[in-house]
Structures are given as C-alpha cells and as structure tokens.
Symmetry: C2
Subunit: 272 residues, 2 copies
C-alpha cells in the first residue's frame, strides 16, 4: 500500500491518484521507471538510479525530467518513512492518438512511496525456471522501460509463496535474469552474470556487485549463459536494488548450501 | 482530438479524463487495445475487433470485459460521429506494486471517440524502411497489447509528412509489418504477407484481405519474408483497420505504378 504520491510536483491522495488517459505510459508503456530502496530515511544508490534513468531517457528520446524538481521530490519522499520503497515513473507525457511521439511532449514524473520492511537478504531462497521467454531487442535491452508484459506473464506462472523468484531465458535459450532481479553464478571460481546486450535490465545492484567483486579481486565475466551453466554453478544468487543480494538455495531439484562469495560481497557492500 | 470518452461505463470529459496511477496499463503496459473505424455511424469490422481482443485477453490472462457493458459503450460511441475512430483500451485493472497480476484484478475499459476524415485509400503512398527492429516473442506475437515502445521508436525515426508508413524488420532481418499496418507483396502472382508467429499484430484488415483474396482465387501465402522479397514484388500494399488498403508507390528508391490486386480487393471489400 502506498503512503505518499506526488505527480509532477503536486501532492496527491495515494489511494486516489490519477494520471491523464492521454499519458503515453497508459497508451503505449512509453516511459521508464526506477524502484529504489528507502533505508534509514535515505534513498540507497540514488545516483545510480538517476544515471540509469538518464540512459533510458536518452535511448527512448524522452526529455530528462527537471533535475532540481526531481531532486526535491526524492528528498521529500525520503522523509516519508524510514524503511520502504520509492518508485519513480517517468512517462513521455501526454500525447494525441498515434505512436509518433510529439517533440513538444513534456515528461511526467510520478513518485510513490511504499512502506516495506527490509528483506532478510542473507536467507537462501527457492527459485524456479519460468516458461515465459524474453524477447531479444538491443534497442530496449538494459534500460528499465515500462513495457513489462514479459515479466507480468512470468510472475503469473506461479503462486506458491515459498518460491521467491523465477529465472528467465530469452527466446534463444540463454539465461538472462530473474523476473525482477539479475542473476549471478560462480562457475570455476569466476563470478559470471549474463550479458545484457539483447535483453534484461542492467540492475543498479548488479553494477554494485560487479564493482565490489572486481575490487576484491574476484574474477568477473559478463557472458552468454545457458541453464546448464547455472545448474552446475558452485554458488548462485540474485540481486535487486530493493532486496540486495539473495543466495539461491534451491532451483527446481538442484540445491546449494552456503554462498561464500555472496556473503563476502554483501558484507563489502554493507547489505547484511 | 477526442470527442467523447467513457471509462468503465462512466462518461468523462475528453480533455480531462484520468485513470488511476495504480492501473497496470500505466505501470507496465499490462493491457490490450483496439482501434476501430467509425463509418456512417457504425463500427466497421466490430466483431473481428472483439474477437482479437478476446484472443489477447486469453493470452495475457486478463478477464474479458463484461460483454453487455462493452457492447453498450461501443453502441453509444458509434452514435457520436459519422466518420471517426473508436479506440478501446482494456487494462488488467488496478494493482499493488509488483509484476504479479492479482487474480482479483477487475479489467478496466476505456472507450474514446476521435473525429477523423476517411482516408483516401486508393492513393499510393510513400514508405520507408525503419532502423528500429521488432523483437521476436511468440507469447506476445499477433495480439494488440500495450507494450508498444518499438512502434513508438520506429515512428520517431522520421518527421517528413510525405512518408506515410515505415516498414519494420525483426531482429533476425525478416520483414514483419509497418509501424501501424500489415504489409502485402505480390511475388510471382502470389499474394504474400509475413507470417506473424514471432512478431507483429494480426490485423483485422489483414484477415479480411486474406479472406477476400482466397474467395477471389488469388493464391495467398503467409511466409517468412526478406527485404529483397518486398523490393522485388510486382505490387506492394499495406493494410490497417482505419485506412483500409493503401498501395505503396515508393519505398526508398524503388517505385511501383498500378496496384491491380489491391484495387480488386479494395473493391471486393467495399473500401474504395
């Protein structure tokens, strides 16, 4: 349940907040979002999120929201609760009928705060393979755009609350990510994660994990990965800006105990 | 400019109509749409559109809108102008944060009427090739869902109003469609159109054209097509529920004069 919402700088009732039907996010999914951890009254990795947003705006040709106004929104959002989630949606703005974006479109920003307890990041999770595949499209890969039907269909595949995440393949059978996380596998001592040239979202936590591993001298590789690489890994974990690093203890009928690299990196990053 | 809008059966001001921020179409593009020709106060091919909508709802696991209520909306929309466009959006409805659709979600329907003169369908158009590629994903191919960033980016590639349509390839280099149309090419006397197993929208007019060709004894083929097939065609045209059948007179530096099969089919279908 959301606690607080502000649309284009104007405070709204979280239960009744609305946007124009003409908003292109509603019409075409024409926009971007960021989901950020609010921790101790501050937005964790705030700058990383804003950088990814800027890359997304550039890729989609959406004007960047006014930096000062957005900073004010985020500052104010961060005071609304100690532990929670701040979700920022930037749509291209209102438009007339038709796909072609108007050059005069003014981007709309919607900032919502949700209450959410901190996730128990050190506890191993149970994961599954999803049947829903991800399409490959370099022009949309890596950014966090609003065209998310693939993730919606993937999460609709299971209801069992004991299963915390589903891993997804692309249409070529390569492993890309979880439905809302990036995935890492330790293979032969190297920390491997799927490259995201064709699909997937370049996660803020993924980038932090790669940097922390590099700093510690762990060999890292962004490569194309198959399910067999994942299943033969000595250690497996998923990352997400909200839940940090989560070791996978079970994936289908495969089990893992212990996650020394995940544990080390979580400590380095101050997550656990 | 829209003349009329009704949201879940409630009339609204077309200039100020809003939907909930929590609507999953706004959050994730989680929904479907239909764009229908209003002609002489009736919706052309109404049943075809409703059938495609039902296929889309089935594919995405979205509950079908109440048939009687939707029929009432469309009946009333059709009385609003003689020549125009009726756009129907069906979203999965409101939701909490997170991709997983709630089983209790109640689909939302938004019906908008736009004034629009009938298109001069017999006049050959100028088309171009788009650089933006379409992803391949069988689970989303064929239906008219709201994840339309690829079409948005493709239409943003040009501004020249003399160019009426852009043809799109998928990431494998196969021709799929126009940015808002299906494409047909006469190759060796056979009327060919790209198969849509991996990408594209199965157009209402496309289906009508295939049926009309079949009825007239024209050989038809839904096949995988390359740009060379298109450029070597003896006749080329695009189809769309709003603009009917439009011959292509120019594509890049290739020119065509006359469109006997398009002309024949347009007559058979009562379009020109």
């Amino acid at each position: 349940v959301s606690l607080w919402i502000r649309i284009d700088g104007v405070q709204s009732d979280p239960q009744r907040a609305t946007v124009a039907v003409r908003d292109r996010a509603f019409q075409y999914g024409d926009g971007l979002f960021e989901t950020m951890r609010l921790e101790g009254g501050a937005i964790r990795y705030r700058q990383d999120h804003l950088e990814r947003l800027a890359r997304g705006c550039d890729r989609l040709g959406i004007a960047l929201p006014n930096a000062a106004a957005l900073a004010r929104d985020l500052d104010d959002a961060a005071t609304e609760c100690r532990d929670g989630v701040v979700k920022l949606i930037v749509s291209r703005g209102d438009g007339e009928r038709g796909y072609r974006p108007e050059r005069s479109a003014v981007p709309r920003r919607v900032v919502t705060v949700y209450d959410a307890a901190a996730a128990p990041t050190g506890v191993p999770i149970v994961a599954r393979w999803c049947a829903t595949r991800l399409a490959r499209n370099p022009c949309l890969a890596g950014i966090k755009h609003l065209n998310r039907l693939e993730q919606v269909l993937a999460q609709a595949e299971w209801q069992d609350p004991r299963i915390a995440e589903g891993l997804m393949l692309d249409v070529e059978g390569e492993v890309i990510c979880g439905t809302c996380s990036n995935v890492f596998a330790v293979v032969g001592g190297t920390l491997c994660t799927p490259d995201l040239r064709f699909a997937g979202v370049a996660g803020v936590m993924r980038r932090r994990v790669l940097a922390a591993a590099d700093e510690r001298g762990v060999a890292v590789a962004e490569i194309s990965m198959r399910p067999a690489d994942i299943e033969s890994a000595s250690e497996l974990f998923v990352t997400n800006a909200l839940t940090g690093i989560r070791p996978i203890g079970q994936l289908g009928d495969r089990y893992w105990t212990g996650a020394p690299i995940a544990t080390q990196l979580a400590h380095d990053l101050g997550l656990w």
